[in-house]
């Protein structure tokens, strides 16, 4: 589903050239729950942005859902974001003017895929069946992130990209969110979660650890996959 071959990314910061990615290779299959782990500045978010067609690599090849992003036009990249990938952000990024239901409807509307589940069903599936008509500012942080996940799920896209999804949440709420994301991998989606929290990586199928723009390890979590109930942070 996701293929990165020799991807580099350089930024010019004033007179200084910063290397965010120094030639990484990565392959993620459908049904995988992958955690990209790394400290701040390691290149994990840049990787996520390139996979999500929000940014373009300086060199290398990126293929998502069979589409080569490095040769795609601007409109094709927009189409990829509508039809293939969905984002979940650390700060939720819900539309403040829309209710929970409408935020989820947005996901459906943009992808143009009308599945069997209604926005209410999807919100119910993330445990928010009782908060349908609430606006983002009337919801707690955990509830807002669950609406954000519901919005991403509503697109029906096969790739879920989550950038520090638990970054603003307490442990209990964060655990609920991770459980939801893990479940999506079981429904034939490729789920990529970026975090700096090593504890979270313990529940992944696979952990990709990055440092200084390079992948320094890629495999199952150390000590094997751990049930959510045993995680603490």
């Amino acid at each position: 589903m996701i293929d990165l071959e020799g991807v580099t990314k350089h930024y010019e910061v004033g007179p200084v050239m910063v290397t965010a990615l120094a030639g990484i290779d990565l392959h993620v299959d459908t049904g995988e729950f992958v955690v990209v782990l790394g400290a701040s500045g390691s290149g994990k978010t840049t990787t996520l942005n390139i996979i999500g067609a929000l940014d373009v690599p300086s060199s290398g090849k990126v293929t998502v859902g069979g589409r080569d992003l490095t040769t795609s036009s601007r409109s094709e990249l927009f189409a990829l974001r509508r039809e293939t990938v969905s984002f979940i952000f650390q700060s939720f990024n819900l539309f403040p003017g829309l209710t929970a239901t409408e935020n989820v409807e947005f996901g459906m509307d943009v992808s143009g895929k009308s599945g069997s589940a209604s926005p209410a069903d999807i919100l119910d599936s993330v445990g928010l069946g009782h908060r349908l008509g609430h606006f983002p500012h009337e919801l707690s942080g955990g509830e807002q992130q669950r609406v954000a996940i519901a919005r991403a799920l509503a697109t029906g896209n096969p790739v879920l990209l989550a950038d520090e999804p638990t970054g603003e949440l307490d442990f209990k709420t964060g655990a609920q969110i991770l459980k939801l994301l893990a479940e999506q991998a079981n429904q034939d989606r490729a789920v990529l979660v970026v975090t700096h929290n090593r504890e979270i990586s313990r529940m992944a199928d696979r952990v990709v650890e990055m440092s200084s723009g390079q992948i320094i390890s890629d495999g199952p979590p150390e000590g094997g996959k751990t049930p959510l109930s045993e995680l603490h942070w």
Binding site: R82, F87, L98, T99
Partner: protein, 815 residues
């Protein structure tokens, strides 16, 4: 610390300079419109005074009534015997016909010979002011020499000198162009059309007497009065002396009653009232824009303010930074206000000078006016910024530094309104939801648009109200005969005499009807203040109420055919406070034993007619005998015979008829009044341009702020694959929704403003005209569509910013 705040504030300003300049410019338009328009009024008044002084305009003008004349010297002798008269000049003023050729085409126009002292003597009252290369006419030239009025010469681009034919067959040489105070502004004959078809010829008195065939005669006396002289007392003495010594009736006009003077001075109360109203609305609009902007800016600095409070900074110190932004807006508004004011003033001066030409036109800087406007313009943003800042520093620091999803959002109507179910997809609902999410902010933006559109509505409607009023006047005068004309005789003549009969029998004339018009002073008896009753000078027209060609329309009551009732204009009846069946007291000229005198009688109001001019009153022709004018006429109305044009009528009557002073299409008679409003309409047009610009500016500013504020929302939309054009369309829709509501509210406010101006301001400033409120809806619709298009298109401009957005950078922005 103070310098740090200043630097910090300047950095804020640099980051948001487009919005700051835009709001400053909004204020500048308010300042500029007020100061610019008010300056033009001042310039006009100052320049008029100086021009009138330079040409010694008369304080009083006495004209021998009903086309009569007296021997030269007799009027001067009377003036010389009356205390209070400083200087005086005798003149012979007669209407004629002027012919010339322009670019090979024959030009035949109504003319007026003003025989006077053109020597340039300092004693001359109502002197001529020579233009460029003009020379003074030589009194004894073999061919009479004249000066042509500037407006006519300029309009037709006449050479510096040439020849003209007057009175059918008399050749004269013109030796240049000139103006005199009565013709700085053409308000007679065909109004401003008179620039093209009123040829005033200033000639030495003797030459005028020769041309007109009235040797040794004068009919006009212009006078200046001693300082403190009682004009009314002088007038009484003049009239009495002329009646006793020469047996003639004098019509005396003060400078203030002279139509051209009234037009020159205009109505400062009306001008200022309208300017104040426009400027006030603009200031209010700009204040809302500044308030909205500063509230958004303070909201954006919420966490910084919270941090400052958390580290113990004093509120009065915290408010300095945003307050400095208010000061910057105020300063920009003041500086640009002067520029805009001058731009508006010079544009308006062009309109003024197009209509009236003054030999002296001064444009001194109006410091006081600008100071007033700039003081208000400066205070508006400062006060507007204060409120949200003071509100912000009263929030608990812990609330101020919270992340947005934890910050309290209580109290507003937003959540309630936002729950209104809406049709369509989520993206289509988003513009409305965004508006409802922040009702206060939406309301402020809405008010800003509303004020601008209200001004546009009021200005356009005021213009159409003037036009509608004049149209109604023309419809009433013309009836079913659009070519109807009036022949003004140069004196009273027997209806069966050759003068009137020649006109009636002229082959170019059909449906001719003799009639008579007499000036009268009318007072209401039944209402008003008994000690100080309302007195109006009206023109009573004696017409045949049995005519099949034309009679006035009776909107109330019925025309008193064969009986002595009077038909008053609706405006006159309202001013008098009388209706059909009430009585008025009429003081009028009367002809008793061949001599003119004055008589007073009580007359019943028989009907009301709808002509907007208060001046016009009607009585049946049969009643002229009761005033001593039975069987006489001084006007003849008619229509051109089949195959004849109005020009043919003029040519024919001037060529053969005796006693014809003026031939004029009735559609032209109201033109002068209409044209006197031309300046106002020109100013309205300039104002409209600025208002449309203002709407665009506010729309642009709003869109720009929205793009800045919602960058994360937009980044999220892009992350979900929504194209930039769809985001811009949503922003446009948001503006359009506001614009449509603003258009409705602006229409209502504008209509209220129009009613205030038409029903309260105008009747005070222009009491002679009964305004008929009229809105041209199609014109209004087009203007509003243009304004709405401007609002809808505004988000296209910050669209570039959206296209260049670095999406990941915006998605990870933390509060």
């Amino acid at each position: 610390m103070k310098l740090l705040r200043l630097r910090w504030s300047l950095r804020d300003a640099r980051r948001r300079w487009i919005q700051i300049v835009a709001i400053g410019f909004t204020l500048a338009i308010g300042i500029g419109l007020y100061a610019g328009l008010s300056s033009v009024t001042e310039w006009r008044l100052v320049s008029t005074d100086k021009s009138l002084e330079a040409t010694s305009m008369y304080d009083l003008r006495a004209t021998v009534s009903e086309g009569g004349d007296v021997s030269a010297g007799s009027l001067a002798r009377i003036a010389g015997e009356i205390d209070g008269i400083h200087s005086y000049s005798e003149r012979l003023v007669l209407d004629t016909q002027v012919e010339t050729a322009v670019d090979g085409d024959e030009l035949l126009v109504h003319g007026r010979i003003v025989g006077m002292d053109v020597s340039g003597s300092e004693q001359v009252v109502n002197d001529v002011y020579l233009i460029d290369d003009a020379v003074r006419p030589a009194p004894g030239a073999a061919t009479p020499q004249v000066l042509v009025n500037r407006s006519f010469a300029t309009f037709w681009d006449l050479p510096t000198s040439g020849t003209l034919t007057v009175g059918g067959d008399i050749g004269v040489d013109y030796v240049g162009s000139a103006v005199s105070p009565e013709f700085f502004l053409i308000v007679e004959g065909n109004g401003s059309l008179g620039k093209s078809n009123l040829a005033v010829l200033f000639a030495p008195l003797a030459a005028a007497q020769d041309i007109s065939g009235r040797p040794g005669a004068v009919n006009d006396l212009v006078m200046t009065l001693e300082s403190g002289a009682d004009a009314a007392a002088v007038t009484e003495q003049l009239i009495a002396a002329a009646a006793s010594q020469d047996g003639v009736l004098l019509d005396v006009l003060t400078r203030e009653e002279t139509p051209s003077y009234i037009g020159l001075i205009g109505s400062p109360e009306l001008d200022q009232g309208i300017y104040n109203a426009i400027s006030l609305l603009l200031f209010v609009g700009a204040a809302f824009a500044a308030l909205n902007f500063s509230a958004r800016m303070v909201e954006a600095q919420r966490r910084e303010i919270g941090n400052s409070m958390a580290i113990g900074e004093r509120p009065r110190s915290i408010i300095v930074r945003p307050l400095l932004i208010g000061l910057q807006i105020g300063i920009i508004g003041m500086i640009l206000g002067v520029v805009v004011g001058y731009a508006i003033a010079f544009q308006t001066v062009g309109v003024v000078q197009e209509l009236m030409w003054l030999p002296i036109f001064e444009q001194p800087f109006q410091g006081e006016i600008y100071a007033q406007a700039m003081a208000v313009g400066f205070a508006v943003p400062v006060l507007a910024v204060l409120w949200p800042v003071v509100r912000a520093v009263r929030v608990k620091p812990v609330d101020a530094i919270r992340s947005s999803h934890l910050a309290s959002r209580g109290g507003s109507l937003g959540p309630v309104i936002s729950r209104i179910p809406l049709p369509g997809r989520s993206l289509e609902r988003m513009p409305f939801r965004n508006l409802m999410r922040a009702p206060r902010r939406t309301f402020l933006t809405l008010l800003t648009f509303t004020m601008s559109l209200a001004i546009m509505f009021a200005m356009l409607s005021l213009s159409s109200t003037f036009a509608g009023t004049f149209e109604q006047g023309n419809e009433e005068l013309l009836g079913s005969e659009p070519d109807r004309f009036m022949v003004q005789m140069d004196s009273l003549y027997p209806v069966d005499g050759p003068q009137v009969q020649d006109v009636l029998a002229d082959p170019t004339v059909q449906l001719g009807e003799p009639a008579m018009v007499l000036g009268a002073n009318v007072t209401a008896t039944a209402s008003g203040d008994a000690d100080d009753p309302i007195r109006l000078d009206l023109a009573v027209r004696f017409v045949d109420f049995g005519s099949t060609v034309w009679t006035p329309t009776a909107s109330e009551g019925s025309l008193p055919r064969g009986s002595p009732g009077i038909v008053l204009a609706d405006k006159a009846a309202r001013d008098f406070g009388v209706g059909v069946g009430d009585e008025v007291v009429v003081t009028h000229p009367a002809l008793v034993d061949g001599a003119f005198t004055h008589s007073t009688r009580t007359v019943e109001v028989a009907a009301i007619h709808p002509h907007p001019l208060r001046l016009n009153a009607y009585m049946d022709l049969s009643q002229a005998s009761a005033w001593g004018f039975g069987g006489l006429a001084n006007i003849v109305t008619g229509v051109p015979a089949d195959g004849s044009s109005l020009n043919d009528v003029k040519r024919s009557l001037f060529g053969s008829g005796k006693g014809v002073a003026l031939v004029q299409g009735l559609s032209e008679t109201f033109q002068s009044v209409e044209d006197s409003q031309e300046q106002s309409r020109g100013v309205f047009f300039i104002t409209q341009i600025f208002v449309v610009f203002l709407v665009m500016l506010i729309a642009f500013n709003t869109a720009n702020i929205n793009v800045d504020e919602r960058s994360r929302d937009h980044a999220t939309m892009f992350a979900y694959g929504i194209p930039v054009r769809r985001v811009i369309a949503n922003l446009s829709m948001e503006g359009l929704l506001l614009g449509v509501v603003a258009a409705v509210l602006g229409g209502l406010f504008g209509y209220a403003l129009l009613l205030w101006m038409a029903l309260f301001l105008l009747p005070t400033a222009i009491p002679d005209i009964g305004m008929i409120v009229s809105v041209r809806w199609w014109e209004m619709a087009v203007s509003f569509v243009v304004a709405l298009a401007a609002i809808a298109l505004a988000p296209v401009f910050p669209g570039r910013k959206l296209k260049k957005m670095f999406i990941p950078g915006q998605l990870r922005v933390m509060e």
